[in-house]
Symmetry: C2
Subunit: 343 residues, 2 copies
């Protein structure tokens, strides 16, 4: 049983003060979440686009550390503008929006105050087109933030750490492009740290979840594929881990999103062996969370529920998710009910 | 000045005894090379396809550790057979050939004896569609072989080690897919091992060379892009490292292949800082090796020179390369002449 917050949507683009010059927020979504001291802290993705300006198409990006806008004429035959989200040229494509990660805080987990000036912002050449979709992993009381860094060098996973959610230390590129959807396990097994990650391949295969090991959380190896897509089901086209695995008596409970051929995003779970997380013990036959509410079906991209964080609260998980790619929402789901979907 | 071996091509498909049932070799190419004891040892890629069989299209692959052939009817509307190298379906594609890596030995570096039963063969689920294009790196007298493992899980880089080039120990997947063209530096710098690698991205960017660091050669991190493509030049579309960097007084001399829009593959070089190999000090304005000889222009895929190994021999490099994607050739090039192409 899913108990949707009565405050949904918790955050919407109307509440965002745009960060860059002449931009407007088109979405606040895909929140990473954790408990920090007496607050629930989210790292939300805010996407901004350049405001309409004389019919030109503006592409916001970072160049040599500074925010710039590259303008295109919609009649330029060298570029394809048919998808409003991108500008496609023969030598590559650009995004018409740029995202950053901002902190939102709450005492009760439902009423959040957004601070657009605190977070992780695109700065490096690996982040030139924005930073997106963070996950927060807590290991030995330290906070590790894995996030997507997008640029013409590819879609990378980068790492940052924080002690206070006020300042963040960037640690560079963690995995080779293209990769996304990375979360660390909260404790070592057999002397090694573990992560789940989601490479996107260029020729063979589909985006699926892999496991890797590390001695220091900066260098990763021993990659194995652990969770594949399932033909003709809700997770047939791609999948990725939502948030850090949660230890239960039966194994590591790990939420994941899956998308089908219609790009409908739902959420299910797996149970991984407590000592050997490459073993999938159980898996949701059906998703436990689907885009059914109005705020999930309508928005920037409808039919999407996309959690990037879950906070344990008693016997329930408070799952923070992006709805329709433009809002932050919350659903409270008893852990038992999630376990019951596993077969 | 390039001195082509008078024995070119050193190895051709006609010399190969096919390994699998009812298959024929369609190429022996892209040789890794090293000096081992008193011999030059190559690890050549041999591609085999299923012989013509009643008009069906045979796809050779490994399933549960065993060699199998999946047959398709060329009239099956669910698949596209227009490119003879692949079978494309809506849920993925297959290769109509499967490659493995075989050892060839020579006392003089020009006359090679091929042993199709000694080498690295596809076995695991990551190698289901074959293993390709090895590089050999020598560190502290040990031999590290990085090779491409292809399957429906993506294009991975795998590692194997050997002490004798008779038996090989597989060490699993080194980097997340898609990646290729990996070679290790022959010594540590600042306490770390280094590699060059070549991720292929799915949405943004082009295949370019990156640098990574490791403490143990199994876990890798601190990824930075070091060498990008150059618009409208011989290396405009993709590039990758040919072989392990060679220490010179001026820096790490590293050969790389580049391809242009016509998929013409040429070879140039870079010089990397001896202490900080993320710094490219110099780069070939023009390639020093181009597909000009008949055996490079005609073959399975003409217009390709593709080295995977270079052995220092006095003041020259003996560069072993795949010609037109089906033969093994050798060119002897004075190191000074390569350095002279750098600007």
């Amino acid at each position: 049983m899913n108990f949707y917050s009565k405050k949904n949507p918790l955050l919407t683009k109307e509440k965002v003060k745009s960060r860059y010059q002449d931009t407007e927020a088109i979405g606040v979504f895909n929140p990473a979440a954790t408990q920090f001291e007496d607050e629930t802290v989210l790292l939300v993705r805010i996407a901004e686009r350049v405001k309409e300006n004389g019919g030109r198409v503006g592409v916001p990006m970072i160049e040599k550390g500074a925010y710039v806008v590259k303008y295109f004429s919609p009649s330029d035959p060298n570029y394809d503008f048919s998808d409003a989200r991108v500008v496609k040229g023969k030598n590559g494509k650009y995004l018409t929006s740029m995202s950053y990660l901002a902190v939102a805080r709450s005492k009760d987990g439902e009423n959040f105050i957004l601070d657009e000036n605190c977070g992780i912002f695109p700065e490096t050449e690996y982040e030139a087109y924005g930073v997106e979709d963070a996950r927060i992993s807590v290991i030995d009381g330290k906070y590790y933030i894995t996030y997507t860094a997008v640029s013409d060098l590819g879609i990378c996973v980068a790492l940052a750490t924080t002690k206070d959610f006020k300042t963040f230390e960037k640690k560079g590129v963690l995995l080779t492009p293209d990769n996304k959807d990375v979360a660390f396990f909260p404790e070592k097994m057999g002397g090694k740290y573990y992560m789940l990650h989601r490479p996107s391949t260029s020729e063979f295969g589909k985006p699926e979840a892999w496991l890797a090991q590390s001695s220091d959380m900066l260098e990763w190896g021993r990659h194995v594929r652990v969770l594949g897509v399932r033909k003709d089901r809700w997770d047939s086209e791609r999948l990725g881990v939502c948030s850090a695995p949660i230890k239960t008596e039966d194994g590591w409970l790990t939420l994941y999103h899956g998308a089908d051929k219609n790009n409908r995003y739902c959420v299910g779970a797996i149970l991984l062996d407590r000592n050997d997380p490459s073993k999938v013990l159980k898996r949701s036959a059906k998703p436990f969370l689907e885009p059914i509410n109005d705020y999930e079906q309508n928005g920037f991209f409808g039919g999407v529920v996309f959690p990037c964080g879950a906070v344990k609260n008693g016997d329930s998980l408070w799952i923070y998710y992006g709805a329709a790619d433009d809002k932050v929402c919350l659903v409270k789901t008893p852990i038992k009910d999630i376990l019951d979907t596993l077969v």
